[in-house]
Amino acid sequence: MTTKTSSETREPAPLLAVSNLHATVDGREILKGIDLVIRPGEVHAVMGPNGAGKSTLSYVLAGRSGYEVTEGSVLYRGLDLLAMKTEERACRGVFLAFQNPVEIAGVTGVNFLKTAVNAIHRFRGEAELDAMQFLKVARRKAKELGVDEDMLKRAVNSGFSGGEKKRYEALQMALLEPRLMILDETDSGLDIDALRVVAKSVDAMRSPDRGLLVITHHQRILDYIVPDRVHVLADGRIAQTGDKDLALELERTGYAQFIGQAA
C-alpha cells in the first residue's frame, strides 16, 4: 500500500478509494475504469442515464455474486474491500439501501434485524442484544423515522408499498449504524412526500465519520441530501465531476451529451 502525505491539505484518509475499477456481468464489461474517492463526512452523488452502470457499481461495492471485478482496486478504510465476503463488508460498515428490497416470507422484521444487529455486534466483539433490548432500540428508531411499529412485526418487505419499503431500508440503515452508506436509486417509485421523509432521515445520519454515496437518476433527492461532489457516470466511466450545481445543470440539459460522448 502506498501512502501519500501532504503537508498543505492534511485531508483525512479516504473512507473509500476506488481506482480503475473494471467489472463484468455475464462476461460483458459494465464498469470500464472507475476512479472515486470518498472521505469521511462527504456525500457523493453518482448520476447518469439508464444502463450506465450505476447499480452495478453499488453491487460490486456490496459484493454481490455474479459481478466480477476484472481490474482495479477498492480500498475501504485502508482495507482491500474486494477481498472481503459480502457479510464482512456489511459488518465493517458498508450498507446498501436497495432499489428493490426483496420479500422474505415468514421472517419478521424484528427477527431479521435483531439477527443482523447481533451479527455486527459479534463481529465487533460487542455484546449481543437480547430481544427486549433490541425492541427498545428498534421502537425508538422507528418512531424517529416515522415508521409504523407494526411493520417490525410483519414479514420482511412482505406486502409493503414502494414507500414503505424505502422507509424500511432507512430504518435498517439507522439500526445498523454503517460508515459507508450506498443509496441505490432510493428515490425511484417514491412520491414527493415519501421522498422527503426518506431523504431527510438519511440526511440526518450524516456525520463527520460517515460517507454517503447517492446513486440516482434524478436531481430531486439531492435537494434534501445536498452532495459535496456530483459525478456523471456514462458507459461505465465517470465522464464529469463537479459540485452540487452540476446536478442542477444536468436536470436542465439531460444526459444526451454524455451518451453521445460515450458512443
Binding site: 456490496a62 459484493g63 454481490r64 455474486s65 455474479g66 472481503m84 465476503k85 459480502t86 457479510e87 464482512e88 463488508r89 456489511a90 459488518c91 450498507f95 446498501l96 436497495f98 428490497p101 426483496v102 422474505i104 416470507a105 415468514g106 421472517v107 427477527n111 431479521f112 434485524l113 439477527t115 443482523a116 444487529v117 451479527a119 455486527i120 459479534r122 463481529f123 414479514a155 435498517q172 445498523l176
Partner: protein, 481 residues
C-alpha cells in the same frame, strides 16, 4: 478469520452432537427374530397371557407379509435376523424412584438436554425416558396422580392398568395394520402410556425421550394416549441415537384416542442420527402414528419436525369418526446429504362436519429426496366435511428432489377439499439481501428456512419451538456454498 467463518465452524462442530455412546452394561435378547425372541421379551416383562398371545398373533402375521415398496425410498434389504430386539441397561429391578436410576443414564440424558431432575421441575415438563428397550424414569408422576392422570411406561401400565391397556391397545393401529406396525406389535419393548380422566386439563407438557444406545439394536416403542371426555393433553417426543456406520431400525407405533370434546396435541422433534455426508449409517425410521377422534367434537393435532434419520417413512393420521371432530397435521421435514423422507398424513372423514387441515413444509438439500404423500378420504356419511391442504417444498441446491403425491377420495358430494402446493428455491436475491445486512450465508439460509417453516414451528410448545429452530439451522449445515 472473520466472525462469520467462526460462526459456521461452531455450527459444523455441533452438527450432530448426540452421536456419543454411553458405556453401560446391557442385557440383550439372543440376536435375531423368532417366536423365542417374542416369548423372551414377554417373559422379561412378566406380561399377562393375553398380551403374549397378541404378540404371537402379530409375529405369525408378520411372517406372511412383505415389506411395503410403494414409498419413494431406496435402501438395501433389511436383515431382520441381524439385529437385537431387546436391550436393557442391567439392573436387578425396575427403578422405584429417580434416586435408583443408574447415574450414567442420568448423565446421558443431561448431555442430551433432557432434564430429569431439577431442570425438569423448572421447565414444568414431565419426562418419560426410554433408553433402548426400557423406560428409565418418569418424572412428576406424583403431581400428575393428583389429577388422576396416568403417565407411565407401557410395561408398567400393562401391570397396573391392564383393563385400560387391553381396551385400547391395537384399537387404532391393529396388529395386522402394516408390515412395520405388525413387527412392532410382536416385539415392542417399551414406550409411554397416558390416560387423562374426564374433564381434566393436563397441567403440564408430557414428554418422552427416546434414545437408541446399543449397537445393532432396533427400537420398537409403543405409545398409547387416551384423552377421556372433555380432557386435554399436550405431548412431546424427542429422539436421538449415536453415530454408527450401520443402519439401525426404528419401528414405533403411536396410538391416540380422543373421546367426546377431548383434545390431544402430539408434537415430535425427530433427530435420529441421519447418517454421514456420504449417506453411510443412520436410522431407518418406519413409524405408524394414528389418532382416532372417536368422540363428538374431539380434536387431534399432530405436529412433527423431522430432521433426522437416513430414511423416514411416517404418516401420522387422523380418523375423524365423531361428528364435528377436527384433525390437524403440521409438518416440517428436512432432508440433507443422502437422507430420504417419504412422509405425510391420512385424514379419514367419517363423521358429519368433520374438518381437517394439513400444512406440510418439505425442505430438501444436498442429494436428498423429500416426498409428501397424503390421503384425504371422505366417507359417504361425512356430510359437510372440509379439508384444506397446503403443501410447500423448498429446494436448496440442484441435486435434491421434492415430490408431492396427494390422494383425494371423496364419496360425499357435500365435501369441500382444497389443495394448494408450491415449490420454490431460496433465491439469490434473498441471500444477498440478508448477507448485505451482516448475516453469514448459513445464518441467512437458516433464517429463510425458519421463515418458510414458521406456520408449523408456531404449533410447537414454546420451549421446544426454540430448540426446533436451532435444529433446522444445524440440519442444513453445509448445504449451501
Amino acid at each position: 478469520m472473520n466472525a462469520g467463518v467462526e460462526q459456521v465452524r461452531s455450527l459444523a462442530d455441533q452438527k450432530y452432537k448426540y452421536g456419543f455412546v454411553t458405556d453401560i452394561e446391557s442385557e440383550v435378547a439372543p440376536k435375531g427374530l423368532s417366536e423365542e425372541t417374542v416369548r423372551f421379551i414377554s417373559a422379561k416383562k412378566d406380561e399377562p397371557e393375553w398380551l403374549l398371545a397378541w404378540r404371537l398373533k402379530a409375529y405369525r402375521a408378520w411372517l406372511k407379509e412383505t415389506e411395503p415398496n410403494w414409498a419413494r425410498l431406496h435402501h438395501p434389504p433389511i436383515d431382520y435376523q441381524d439385529a437385537y430386539y431387546y436391550s436393557a441397561p442391567k439392573k436387578k429391578d425396575g427403578p422405584k424412584s429417580l434416586d435408583e436410576v443408574d447415574p450414567k443414564l442420568l448423565e446421558t440424558y443431561a448431555k442430551l438436554g433432557v432434564p430429569l431432575h431439577e431442570r425438569a421441575i423448572l421447565a414444568g415438563v414431565a419426562v418419560d425416558a426410554v433408553f433402548d428397550s426400557v423406560s428409565v424414569a418418569t418424572t412428576f408422576k406424583g403431581k400428575l396422580e393428583e389429577y388422576g392422570i396416568i403417565f407411565t411406561s407401557i410395561s408398567e401400565a400393562v401391570k397396573k392398568h391392564p383393563d385400560l391397556v387391553r381396551l385400547y391397545l391395537g384399537s387404532v393401529v391393529p396388529y395386522s395394520d402394516n408390515y412395520f406396525a405388525t413387527l412392532n406389535s410382536a416385539v415392542f419393548t417399551d414406550g409411554s402410556f397416558v390416560y387423562v380422566p374426564p374433564g381434566v386439563r393436563c397441567p403440564m407438557e408430557l414428554s418422552t425421550y427416546f434414545r437408541i444406545n446399543a449397537e445393532k439394536t432396533g427400537q420398537f416403542e409403543r405409545t398409547l394416549i387416551i384423552a377421556d371426555k372433555g380432557s386435554y393433553v399436550s405431548y412431546l417426543e424427542g429422539c436421538t441415537a449415536p453415530m454408527r456406520d450401520e443402519n439401525q431400525l426404528h419401528a414405533a407405533v403411536v396410538e391416540l384416542v380422543a373421546l367426546d370434546d377431548a383434545e390431544i396435541k402430539y408434537s415430535t422433534v425427530q433427530n435420529w442420527y441421519p447418517g454421514d455426508e456420504q449417506g453411510r449409517g443412520g436410522i431407518y425410521n418406519f413409524v405408524t402414528k394414528r389418532g382416532a377422534c372417536r368422540g363428538r367434537a374431539s380434536h387431534i393435532s399432530w405436529t412433527q419436525v423431522e430432521t433426522g434419520s437416513a430414511i423416514t417413512w411416517k404418516y401420522p393420521s387422523c380418523i375423524l369418526q365423531g361428528d364435528d371432530s377436527v384433525g390437524e397435521f403440521y409438518s416440517v421435514a428436512i432432508t440433507n446429504n443422502y437422507q430420504q423422507a417419504d412422509t405425510g398424513t391420512k385424514m379419514i372423514h367419517i363423521g358429519r362436519n368433520t374438518r381437517s387441515r394439513i400444512v406440510s413444509k418439505g425442505i430438501s438439500a444436498g442429494h436428498a429426496d423429500n416426498t409428501y404423500r397424503g390421503l384425504v378420504k371422505v366417507m359417504p356419511k361425512a356430510d359437510g366435511a372440509r379439508n384444506h391442504t397446503q403443501c410447500d417444498s423448498l429446494l436448496i441446491g440442484n441435486q435434491c428432489g421434492a415430490h408431492t403425491t396427494p390422494y383425494i377420495e371423496s364419496r360425499n358430494p357435500s365435501a369441500r377439499i382444497e389443495h394448494e402446493a408450491s415449490t420454490s428455491k431460496i433465491s439469490e436475491d434473498q441471500l444477498f439481501y440478508a448477507r448485505q445486512r451482516g448475516l453469514s450465508e448459513e445464518e441467512a439460509v437458516s433464517l429463510i428456512v425458519n421463515g418458510f417453516c414458521r406456520e408449523v414451528l408456531q404449533q410447537l410448545p414454546m420451549e421446544f419451538a426454540v430448540e426446533a429452530q436451532k435444529l433446522v439451522a444445524i440440519s442444513l449445515e453445509g448445504s449451501v456454498g
